[in-house]
Symmetry: C2
Subunit: 203 residues, 2 copies
């Protein structure tokens, strides 16, 4: 029904899979079922459409993240956090692809957006982890900021690259199975390298 919304959806899909420069305004318009000039009435320029797509992804991220932090503020923090962040990207892998593409195409622009949408949250997590250090739960050698960043990057790239990379896992070409294996191992790596004991931390 909402034209603007379906333009955004089709543009997200196409930009994620073919890139911004590899997608023409014509293609997006066709996917929506309107003519090119009609699309350009809603967004005025191709670049404005790109910014809207990126803004939409980051807005949803900024919307979902605080809720996660509130819900997970007691025990099981880590698992809840990991689970919620993963499902944000698993739910729509195009989000991961868009962000990876922007990081490659326009590092300066993305840097500014990450500073407002991601850095504060990494700071919060890093602070929590530092508290965990003094409680003796978190390994003292952890570089908490770099650690948090690595974990986010692993989630994003695991999901965005799974399609090309799953061949390396062995005989099975099944996408869902590969995803589960990668996410399981990712969780294990993240947990083991963070806590002093590999068991669940005592709250």
């Amino acid at each position: 029904m909402d034209v603007r919304q379906s333009i955004l959806e089709e543009a997200t899909r196409l930009f994620a899979h073919k890139g911004f420069d590899g997608t023409s305004v014509q293609e997006v318009a066709e996917a929506v079922g309107i003519r090119k000039p009609s699309l350009l009435y809603h967004f005025t320029s191709k670049d404005e459409l790109r910014q809207a797509v990126l803004g939409d992804v980051l807005a949803r991220w900024s919307d979902v993240l605080p809720k996660i932090f509130l819900r997970a503020s007691k025990d099981e923090q880590f698992d809840a956090l990991m689970e919620a962040m993963s499902s944000f990207f698993v739910e729509d892998p195009d989000r991961a692809r868009i962000i990876l593409r922007e990081a490659l195409d326009r590092p300066d622009e993305l840097r500014a957006l990450l500073a407002t949408h991601v850095q504060p949250w990494v700071e919060v997590v890093a602070g929590q982890l530092d508290k965990g250090k003094s409680r003796g739960v978190v390994r003292p050698e952890v570089d908490t900021q770099a650690y948090a960043l690595h974990v986010v990057a692993m989630v994003v790239s695991s999901i965005a690259l799974l399609d090309s990379v799953r061949i390396v896992l062995g005989g099975e070409p099944d996408l869902a199975t590969s995803q589960k294996r990668m996410m399981n191992e990712l969780f294990r790596v993240a947990r083991t390298s963070l806590y002093v004991t590999s068991d669940k931390p005592t709250p």
Copy 2:
């Protein structure tokens, strides 16, 4: 001197930073200092140039990897392997960017190339790690294939995305320092989540 080589170098640089679709044959020719039709004499099509660039990266990779494995076949395996793989991409970050871009743009094509250039080596490493399990050095819960894949992906994405992502690390905007911090933490995460004891493994 060698025209073909300087075309490949400039194309690698431009494709890595602006993407294949974001770079025109004209631009590459200008960077080399020749005219467009002259470039198209050496490569006949833009797509052939792309394949040559990608093939060049993978050829260097296939060239350097066996040497690493021979050199590191005794003790200190892990550190030597990580160090060598990292320096392959640190030496020229455009390699990491090209591979990430191909994974996003043409997953099917890259899948085939990874199957021949990367999978066999992941299999070797995974086999070594499985031996480490029975010797009681490597944690039994490790999914060795998924683990190896995660480590490679972390190295590649750390280097390719560092420019956009380092803002999250805190006040310091220095690129070299951020790289060191990220690589140090990456090594620590990889080592800690692999071995039963966080100390160096007894050979």
